[in-house]
């Protein structure tokens, strides 16, 4: 089993048979790369020889037939044409070969004595032949040099501008994995490929196709099907898996059925690959510090687009850049996820169901960049007929603030197990923060609701304490809204912080609002009054409607920098329909 933990080759014993069966058994052999290189060299050689021989032969045939009286100079000039052509198409060696063939033709047909291989008698012919040899050598040399530099400088230029474009796209698409991958695939079309497939290693090590891009003449609809191919198992003999295991790029200068079989994941995939009529392929790994992230597969369907070492190194350069970008995206996503998880841990996982009480809330954590908001709220049961409602705000943002938020929430819950008075519970929190963190503080409002069943009449008592926090507001059914008590000292700074308890009675239809200052437009002198006047219009509305109204007002105001939370509960007298008998009936 130990082996299954490493990426190195061999079959994975933990790998389920059913998954293995999905890979066609034929797809086993990865074609030998050196063979195809040798084959290509032979073809180039044969083509060069043919060009080198055919040109002088044709010139000889034409010039001999014309039968000029003194055709030596004319023939010599004509022979220079095939030498030029051979050099241009097959390189200097073919040009020189062609020159040799031309020399033989000149010597045999056009120098005295004619139709013999003997050295000519006439000084003129000897000079002529010598000049011809010199001229053809210089010609072949200069053409091949010039052609070579032009080709390589064009290639270098393409190389640089392609990578610059790739860099830009990768930098721009920054922090979205899917977007980065599709941009990455797109940048290769048509610059270096007609079809591009990006495969990534998943956390469970299977390999999944994440992005596909294609250009003319590949039909996009056909290429899109590549998205739906099953993932590759890490130990599969598939060529992509092989590149991921070895970390080495592969180049197929020509593509035959064997190559495709090495790539195909299913018979359908094979049929699809055959349909592209690929001519050349490259698979390059995406290298990172932690291992291979995946591969980029580039395919050519045009006869003129050939892949060689130069294209392979270009693709490799692209892969290095892409891998860096991908690594950043992954790190960012991970951080984002853990921040999100932290934030979510600061909210109650489940709202308790309180008979005859409606609860509604709106919570907007501050999620810009890597900042986590310091708002939190909680609702929990403290006794048979008692529940606690808490809303708080930890100063600052970021993971440090979030840690304090967690401390605050847990301390309040723990303190509420042994204490009843809200002021005393906030006092415990005050001490806890002072001991934990000398540099930060917290504000919170704590409200304890005691339900009192009095015959058919529903009543409740509410005890409230606030530490440096906007006081909760009671909204009577009649539409009268007022703050409950006054705020005490903020928490976590002064060992002798003062908190007070305020007690009020609630009747059926009354609602209570707890909130954080993100709900207020703090650039105003008296933002609480504005909030109270909005609430006055909400008399008789249900908790959900009140929360929505307050939240909508805040989102219209020009509040940018703070997160906000609003928690509303209301004595509705109605229990959930699925619950057993109604405890209270509305009057």
């Amino acid at each position: 089993m130990q082996r299954s933990r490493t990426l190195a080759g061999g079959s994975d014993p933990s790998f389920p048979e059913s998954a293995r069966a999905r890979i066609p058994t034929r797809a086993v052999r990865i074609p030998d790369r050196p063979l195809s290189v040798v084959a290509k060299r032979w073809r180039t050689l044969v083509r060069g020889i043919l060009i080198a021989a055919a040109g002088p032969a044709a010139v000889t045939a034409v010039v001999v037939r014309v039968d000029l009286s003194r055709p030596f100079q004319v023939a010599a000039l004509l022979y220079l044409l095939p030498i030029t052509a051979a050099t241009f198409f097959a390189g200097m060696w073919a040009g020189l070969l062609s020159a040799a063939a031309s020399f033989v033709g000149l010597l045999y047909y056009f120098a005295e004595p004619m139709r013999s291989f003997r050295w000519p008698h006439a000084t003129e012919d000897i000079v002529g032949l010598t000049v011809f040899v010199a001229v053809s050598y210089i010609l072949a040399r200069s053409i091949s040099a010039e052609h070579g530099t032009r080709v390589s400088s064009e290639a270098a230029e393409r190389h640089v501008s392609f990578l610059a474009a790739a860099n830009e796209i990768i930098a721009r698409s920054a922090l979205d994995l899917t977007k980065t991958l599709s941009e990455l695939a797109n940048v290769t079309i048509p610059a270096i490929a007609d079809i591009c497939i990006v495969d990534l290693v998943d956390p469970d090590r299977t390999i999944t196709t994440m992005a596909v891009a294609s250009g003319e003449p590949v039909r996009a609809a056909l290429a899109d099907n590549l998205h739906h191919m099953p993932p590759i198992q890490p130990s599969s003999p598939n060529a992509v898996a092989e590149v991921i295991r070895s970390g080495k790029a592969v180049l197929y200068e020509t593509v035959d059925e064997d190559v495709l079989r090495g790539l195909a994941r299913t018979p359908d995939h094979m049929a699809l690959l055959l349909g592209f009529h690929l001519r050349a392929l490259m698979i390059v790994p995406l290298p990172s510090r932690g291992g291979i992230l995946g591969t980029i597969t580039l395919g050519s369907v045009r006869p003129r687009r050939r892949y060689g070492q130069e294209e392979l190194s270009l693709a490799g350069d692209l892969a290095v850049r892409a891998a860096t970008a991908l690594e950043n995206v992954r790190l960012y996503e991970e951080r984002d996820r853990s921040a999100q998880a932290l934030q979510e841990s600061l909210l109650p996982t489940r709202m308790p169901e309180i008979p005859a009480v409606e609860i509604a809330y709106r919570f907007h954590p501050f999620t810009e960049a890597d900042l986590i908001g310091g708002d939190f709220f909680d609702v929990f049961q403290t006794g048979a007929r008692s529940w606690a409602f808490v809303v708080g705000d930890v100063c600052g943002k970021g993971s440090e603030a979030a840690a304090l938020t967690g401390l605050a929430r847990n301390t309040i819950r723990a303190a509420a197990m042994s204490r009843a008075e809200p002021s005393s519970i906030l006092g415990v929190l005050n001490q806890a923060i002072i001991r934990h963190d000398i540099d930060r503080y917290c504000t919170a409002a704590y409200a304890r609701l005691d339900l009192i069943a009095d015959g058919d009449d529903l009543r409740a008592r509410l005890v409230v304490s606030s530490g440096g926090h906007p006081a909760p507001i009671v909204l009577r059914r009649s539409g009268v809204a007022e703050e409950i008590g006054r705020s005490g000292t903020l928490l976590g700074v002064f060992p002798d912080a003062e908190q007070t308890d305020t007690e009020i009675d609630l009747s059926l239809g009354d609602a209570v609002v707890l909130y954080t200052d993100g709900l207020l437009d703090e650039r105003q002198a008296t933002p609480e009054l504005k909030l109270l006047s909005i609430l006055t219009e909400c008399g008789g509305a249900d908790a959900e409607a009140i929360a929505e109204r307050l939240d909508a007002t805040a989102s219209r105001a020009d509040v940018v920098f703070d997160d906000r939370a609003v928690l509303v509960f209301r004595l509705s007298g109605e229990t959930e329909p699925e619950e057993t008998p109604r405890l209270w009936r509305s009057t």
Partner: protein
């Protein structure tokens, strides 16, 4: 809107004046100036009369500066800001825990 922060060294005190909005974005700038001013170990006056807004980060800045001054045995006086700024100190119940004056002249005489 950004913040204007200036420190003025007077014979017997240091006056740090803030004008604009003191929020999470402008706190670092003010923090730098404040800490440099504190090195003088002279009575410190923080003038908030030109401040239009303060958020929880700003409040924390004032509280930590106050704590540092207390530890160093240096007096720390705050010139009250306009109503939105006063409100924040009031809600946090800091009125009687920090030393406030209404105008700069009332602070430690220069």
């Amino acid at each position: 809107m950004a913040i204007d922060v200036s420190a003025e060294r007077q014979p017997s005190r240091l006056v740090v004046r803030l004008a604009g909005e003191l929020d999470i974005a402008s706190v670092p700038q003010v923090e730098t100036v404040l800490r440099r001013a504190e090195e003088d170990l002279k009575p410190l006056v923080l003038d908030l009369s030109g401040l239009s807004f303060i958020d929880s980060s700003g409040l924390r800045l004032v509280l930590t500066a106050h704590a540092r001054a207390r530890d160093a045995g240096v007096s720390f006086t705050i010139v009250r800001g306009p109503e939105p700024v006063r409100r924040v100190f009031r809600v946090a119940h800091l009125d009687d825990r920090l030393t406030f004056v209404d105008t700069l002249d009332e602070a430690t005489p220069s």
